[in-house]
Assembly symmetry: D2
Homo-oligomer: 336 residues x 4
């Protein structure tokens, strides 16, 4: 309550708290009165209502609002895409072009990343682009090429879905459905993915807090789909030297808060090819379950995201260099 | 080009620029070489590709990427919702509850805001909520109540649409379709709204730059709908004392860049009831075309956004107090 | 306490709370235990210590940490610089060049802004510049020119001090000492200004929260100087279309939290000459006590901040156009 | 130039460019005219002046504004504090309490961190605190205790200086002088440290861009002191789950831009004890030259920063666990 809140205001709040089914608990401080509401319930609405009452300075919940994805429920969950498992202590690499452009471009990339040790092929067929005049993706044609690349290489396929109406189509072709950063709070899409029957990788929104990120995952879980992978891909800050600010502290923090597997995307996280390799190593060291990175056979001919795409030989070098870090991490886990 | 870029690299870039259909123009500086590409064309892709080439330090466009909504096309456009016009030099107030909750709540609010001078009724039937456990809106039932309130009061109706699949339903009931901040880059929705046949109010995303905001408007325009209203509703910053940071400088800046009408939402912009009235006055003074604010007959019983909703009598007082500012602004425009 | 905190941990915390001189108050919730500490005292340190203890999830204070500058102490204070008063319900305009460059430049500006109705002359003699290769100010020579301009025009003088060692020198010449945004948390400087014997205008730091802003003012007050003016000058956000994001909501919010006068600087707040006039109007409308703006006789020859400086005739026009807003605001205050 | 800039305006700009000593170079585009200024010189001022001229849309430099600290000057520099070297390919750990509190606390910590393998002891004697009512440090008494701890343990000492007037005192006791985040743009202090005759560790400001960070280092270098260590310690963003957002991508980016050694402070970077160890591993993996972390014998009795301080046994465990990462990194460097 505010300083100087009246007895009447305090009583009014206690009455409301009782009406919501909680037990009020008054603590008279030297300068302020605090009222605790004890009990179970759907608190968010009540909190907003209490904040609106006269004499109230602030109201806030003590419990975290996410439940199904919380680490209080389970220590660590793993997500399977065919024979590839995320969250079982291994380290999974997803790689491929930003956009599927042509058969040649995709097959060349898929073969290169498979050879270098990637397990999952990424590639956008539906592209959410800032400008309406930018390339919007090959759509179903792109999905077919992805499936063809899977058949050729044995890689599993992850690809983005940007609209509820496309979910049925995309799930036919993809092993993992990706929700992009700009759709992290497209709640209609999240609900629909609850019944997609395929794992979902949810990318953190550009300005999403960790709490909002987990609540978006909770949407998918609450609508029936427990197979969720979280992806940290950088947040928007004042810094313009990198495309985004990659929040690697989010990885161990998420590991404390949720049982879901966590992967990191240093391509979008930095926007700079030269920064990907050092951040890939840091991604392993910080405890992530995997990595997503963009690879293009010829970045300077890429239709999107060229500056942040590795060339196949650069990708192979990165894979070679992160390998000892992956071993180190496995040894650590074995020693626990 | 980077310092020390080779002749070969410079020639390579010139070749690419010619291949894109532009004319390269080399400027040898004391320490760096700069290459200008002169000509018309779809630049964004080319710029990304050039950035990816060896020896290139940076590449950027000189022209703004939005065209149809640009002020270079037209000085000022106006948008009509029935007999209400935004962007004609007047000041339009949109008011109503965050969510449509019950018939009583809505009718009471609609009558109060109409009496106080609002011209447009706001109210959410589809609610994008951060948590899956929060109230998600009355859906079609809510739309019907909005239509009923319009019939009773003569107010026009603005309401949010959050998914492509709902556009046809919502346009049947609404006079203006609202795109919420979290959907500002839901490009599938923006495209669909291009053929909605009703005006669209686009809210600025939580971390959207002015340029991205205008490009999202450009999506709607490029897909056939020129009737677009922009709404500044606060951006996400480090400051937590207010819910968002209301960027009032965006209003005159948008007035320089685009011909579209601009309104301001100080309810979401601040999250605090006590700040709405002073910011409503500032909204008029800074040159906006209108204002959107939340009003609820009993904020402490609101199912959402109570702390930032005005009571009907507070709204009436605000309307009375902003009136002289509106007059002042009209006099200024007449004097031009 | 965390879920599952042991009895032992809870007792340990209660013991510590008693040791600090507070009374512990245990609230057993359905899933969590909350412990309230009731009493007076220097809480910050204790809170950090409690946060560090095992079994504790979070600890936070209920009271605001600023005291002397709080509105709970006094409703509104006013600050006098000679015959000019800030915070008495009037509206004071401070104007002048970013840097004092030459006698001609300063006298010309001072005369122009005095004629147009400004009451205080701004001008930097000590310049905090991002690069060591930028102009650093005329130092004492600049202060002398400011004093000469005061003698000629009757304007009061505000100028920045950037180091404790310069305070004695600057206070000899200035009527108000300015602390720049980059020094808002230069605590040695704030302490020294506690005994400056002249009013201080404290600019909000680029990434300072309202709470930190008030705590910096509290430093000056706690060290003996109650004559403090706060200046909102824009915060740093992701948006790059303006130099900073001017947080006008900070004005009414500060008016709720503190009794100190508040002025706004739309020159630094936007970095764009064309945006100053509309934001100056909004500054009046939102309830500020004054305005600071940069004016230069020839912005394209300015040694710093030319793009955000008004020409004298533009300043005169702004003064003319904000006048009716000032009248409107005065009428409002009279009607209270 | 803006679209539609007149011939006269273009000629005027060319004249100014010539007057500054550059050669103008006109590029007529399809819709815009661009003018390049070629030559050597102090560009910043000129750019601001050009931005201010009529008809100009924007003006920007092609070259980086920092010179002495740039990697174009030197590939990698190393900084020596006695027998400890930063930047030579090794990994240096700095550890100790946030504040020097008592002899016991400091000696106990110093012995523990020395035993665990740290080479440098940190500890604040002058504390820049947000509130005037928080503990402000033991001042000279604290410096003496640090020197005593150095004598006992052989550790080198790093401690913060917050005011020009204290530099002479602090340099007598410290091996490295630290500039805190809040003073990164205290230019008077930076200039003074140019002649301190001891290495300086400069922490990145809470909202400082990489460019501003390097320009602050350039101040120290330009005033005579080349022995500078950069410290990434987290930036301020919208995220509140961690105290700051640790920007690990800054490390490889700085390694591309500057020859100065770079260390990382995950204590301030996250504000959470449990996140320090994983981020310490990531710090090694990403390519930093060292690490700074807070250690306190009893965090729940710390006078400041307890929640982000490791206990001595936790620090020892961290040291043991990062050791294989340090070896891995050394092997990588050897293989180059």
């Amino acid at each position: 309550m505010r300083a100087g809140a009246s007895e009447e205001q305090i009583n009014h709040i206690c009455d409301r708290i009782r009406a919501y089914g909680y037990t009020p608990h008054i603590i008279k401080g030297a300068e302020r009165t605090v009222i605790a509401a004890v009990g179970h319930g759907d608190k968010k609405e009540h909190i907003e209502q209490l904040k609106s009452a006269d004499g109230v300075e602030d109201a806030f919940p003590i419990l975290q609002p996410f439940k199904l994805v919380s680490r209080e429920v389970q220590k660590k969950s793993s997500v399977k895409a065919g024979n590839v498992t995320l969250g079982d202590g291994g380290f999974v690499v997803m790689a491929g072009p930003c956009s599927v452009e042509t058969r040649d471009q995709l097959m060349q990339t898929a073969e290169a990343v498979a050879k270098a040790g990637a397990q999952i092929l990424r590639g956008g067929a539906f592209k959410p682009r800032t400008s309406p005049y930018d390339f919007q993706g090959l759509v179903e044609e792109g999905l077919k090429l992805l499936a063809e690349a899977r058949d050729r290489t044995g890689l599993k396929v992850i690809t983005e879905v940007i609209n509820t109406e496309d979910v049925d189509l995309v799930r036919e072709y993809a092993d993992i459905l990706q929700v992009g950063a700009r759709n992290m709070q497209n709640f209609a899409l999240l609900k629909k993915l609850g019944s997609a029957g395929k794992p979902v990788m949810l990318k953190r929104g550009l300005s999403a807090t960790i709490k909002e990120f987990l609540l978006s995952a909770e949407y998918i879980a609450a609508h029936g789909n427990p197979d969720i992978i979280l992806c940290e891909r950088g947040i928007r800050t004042f810094e313009t030297a990198t495309r985004n600010t990659l929040d690697l502290a989010a990885v161990p923090l998420l590991n404390e808060l949720t049982h879901l597997p966590v992967v990191v995307d240093p391509s979008h996280g930095t926007g700079k090819r030269s920064l990907i390799k050092p951040l890939a190593k840091a991604t392993v060291a910080v405890g992530a379950d995997g990595l997503m990175t963009e690879v293009h056979p010829c970045p300077e001919e890429a239709w999107s995201d060229g500056p942040q795409s590795l060339r196949p030989e650069e990708f192979a070098l990165m894979m070679k260099e992160i390998e000892p870090y992956i071993q180190l991490r496995k040894n650590e886990l074995l020693a626990l």
